[in-house]
Symmetry: C2
Subunit: 475 residues, 2 copies
């Protein structure tokens, strides 16, 4: 059967999840490998998801009062060394421009791995008085971190992202913004990616190079591993001091500002694939699906069928939906498989009998079930259905995550937990040695710290717990 | 007087246009200089113009059936050398990554100056059969061309642009698309930037490195010089052969495709500044102005004034306008100057008497005149007014361009023409020596060739004219 043949192109999702992922991203044409190792090409079907993510996030940033700007790709090497922890974290993975315009440069330039340094430098120029604060800017751009082991969307040497950077007059305000942006990401993950996340503060070991505190949002993938899907950083005065971001306060005193930054990347596309996908391939959340409804004509050559499909398409477009009629010469069965693999949330089948009866056959990708809906008021009906699908995707993923958070009181329990594809909640004394021991023993890392410390003892050393931590294996 | 004081910050537009330009782009906070020579930072007020340009163009591309994608920033050096003319044109100005991840790279990587090579390589992978054609993709990205002499927006080592790349089965189709995209740009320049342009084919000397034919659109700036504002290129099979873009035709024969590309950049922001600006500063075309209407409260502390301003703002936003209330503590006079310099198309002044009379005072930036409009139906009134302003800006610029196209039959006439700030239309025999002579004698270049050859003799050698050419000094 054509269908089986088709599905067999994708590795079994439970037997070999990494291969399933690679098969899906390549075969659905989200992405392709570029000519340089570890660098990807984002194809139109993948890029359209990114455009939808951008639009949704950008609207939220603007509503929050953040402005977009664009800062240079190339950063003087000397900038990187101005913040001691920062250079230690990023120097090993930068790409360096040494020659330009036919000559060797006096100072090498780094292709930005992140822009705290150059934006710090510019904000130092722009900020003079308390009246200039807060200064809140964001940029959508490419960044580069040379990686040894790469996978499309998850870890590539070049990726696309947004990075927001703000300066405040007080540390309190900057910390509040760090949490506000974390919550903005969390709301976005829930309502746009239909993806539940755990949010919380990172440990010292896991924080951003140069930050005082890093907060992360972690999502549970199909295999129970965690994917860091967004981070926000409170920098205190570290970067302000390194780059001279000073202002005259209301009190007339010259003082350093407090900075923070936040970012999400094309990694989110990997996150939603591994959160929602199933044996047949992608399941795209309706808010970001490039095609939300695909209309497949049945007996397409019969009079009036294609016309009816196109009329329905126009009606759905008017209702604000992203719609495609697949009028290619492939068989309906082939098309069903193709669009299921590509994760289109709703398929409408429309043939002569449907048209005669004023009905359409509707296939929901999330539950893989067919039903009938009236053609009258199709726009409203399908909008409602897409909303239902979004909710179902979220609740399904939330249920999995809740079921797969287990508690551990010993390292053995912790190992058993992560071996079973769970997030493990456990007490921690706060010391680096115990954190390293978890990594060594269970190949798991501290993803985020829980809001409250509810554990009694450190899962490693047995001393009193200082933080309750979610440990997991991670991408 | 405050106003004079303010205006005096900008150099005289007619006495020193280059300084006027620099003053305007820096003082209105469109842009700032980055820490590396020749690299700019696009500040929020400038970036918002680019976002409006992007949205308008992107909508047009998508309506034309072009899809967005994202290709790698770094291109293997060996790719550049595969097309002989291409490497000759771009090699001298590329920035080169030689080290990454702490080690020297086996092959240096070039920061893309344009992406024909890497996109050619990928399209070679994707195209197999005539069924895959045409393949039409576009990317919005940063590019880098190391420049010696730079000016914000006009010529910087890094800039933002879009580059569209298509493969067709036949040369005819690819050539047609090259002209279609030129016309798309022309329509966009007219209706969005309110900027008249001359379009036509470039001479061999001025064409893109590796193209068979380049078409350009040229706009006349305030000083009569020309600014190349967009180009489209027909590549024939040059890049298809260099990168193996081959497909099996309907006839079963394996053959090379025909490619074309097209691009516009952040240079367009420079173009609109130098087309519309006046002694007071920027005049932004309403379709791309970040703020279309600024509301300045008069006697802002009087009861009800700020409330009325904010109510008007909400009404105008509902009508689809981009609006700002300037409720800062500066004086109305200061605000008038500030927003005039920043080129906001319409200023509304609203004070207690206006509110009482149900009127608003409206200042048009394009003609610097005040009038009164009723507050009732303000949204509709101001939408209409902005449309009128757009038309006026276009017609004013068109009138200037028409008046400043002069004919020349001798080199002396040509020199006199460009000295007077004109575009000079003249006959050309088609030989490179005569084209070089014009450059040497009059510091002018062939901008585009006219659609028809209407001249009798070459302006240089007197032999029969083969092409009628628009010569001008250019940015």
């Amino acid at each position: 059967m054509a269908k089986d043949q088709f599905v067999s192109q994708i590795a079994d999702i439970d037997a070999d999840f990494p291969q399933w992922y690679t098969d899906v991203v390549i075969k659905t044409k989200l992405v392709d490998y570029g000519p340089v190792k570890g660098i990807m090409v984002i194809r139109p079907y993948g890029y359209a998801i990114w455009e939808n993510i951008q639009r949704e996030l950008d609207t939220r940033f603007k509503a929050a009062g953040v402005e977009n700007a664009y800062f240079p790709l190339l950063i003087p090497m000397s900038f990187m060394t101005k913040e001691a922890e920062h250079v230690e974290g990023f120097a090993p993975e930068v790409a360096v421009v040494t020659h330009a315009g036919g000559a060797k440069l006096e100072e090498p330039l780094v292709v930005r791995p992140t822009s705290e340094t150059i934006i710090g430098h510019m904000m130092g120029k722009w900020v003079e008085s308390w009246r200039d604060l807060p200064l809140r800017q964001n940029q959508w751009c490419n960044v580069m971190r040379w990686e040894k082991t790469t996978r499309p969307f998850l870890r590539t040497s070049e990726f696309l992202w947004q990075e927001g950077h703000s300066v405040y007059a007080t540390g309190e305000e900057a910390e509040t913004e760090t949490l506000n942006m974390l919550h903005l990401y969390e709301e976005f993950a829930k309502n746009v990616l239909c993806m539940p996340v755990l949010t919380g503060r990172k440990t010292e070991k896991e924080k951003f190079a140069g930050a005082v505190a890093t907060y992360g949002m972690e999502a549970m993938m199909h295999d129970g591993k965690s994917l860091q899907s967004g981070t926000t950083h409170y920098m205190g005065q570290n970067f302000a001091k390194a780059f001279g971001v000073q202002f005259t306060g209301k009190d007339g005193v010259l003082q350093y500002g407090y900075t923070m930054s936040y970012g999400v990347s094309t990694r989110l596309i990997g996150a939603l694939i591994m959160t929602h996908g199933d044996a047949r391939g992608l399941i795209l959340p309706p808010p970001v699906a490039p095609v939300q409804v695909v209309i497949v004509p049945i007996a397409a050559k019969k009079e009036g069928v294609l016309e009816a499909c196109n009329a329905l398409k126009e009606e759905l477009k008017k209702a604000g939906l992203r719609v495609k009629v697949d009028d290619s010469e492939n068989s309906p069965g082939w098309k069903f498989n193709e669009w299921e693999m590509k994760g289109v949330p709703v398929r409408v089948e429309l043939g002569p009998r449907d048209i005669e009866n004023g009905k359409m056959t509707v296939f929901r990708r999330d539950i893989c079930e067919k039903s009938e809906l009236g053609l009258a008021d199709a726009g409203k009906e399908l909008c409602a259905l897409l909303g239902e699908i979004s909710e179902n995707l979220y609740h399904k993923a939330e249920k999995r995550m809740k079921e797969r958070i287990v508690d551990a009181e010993t390292l053995e329990e912790l190992l058993k937990g992560v071996d079973g594809g769970n997030f493990v909640r456990a007490g921690w004394c706060g010391c680096r040695a115990c954190e390293d021991k978890v990594k060594e023993f269970a190949q798991a890392t501290a993803r985020v710290m829980d809001k409250e410390n509810t554990a009694e003892k450190c899962v490693v050393c047995g001393k009193p717990s200082v933080h309750t931590v979610f440990f997991a294996r991670a991408y």
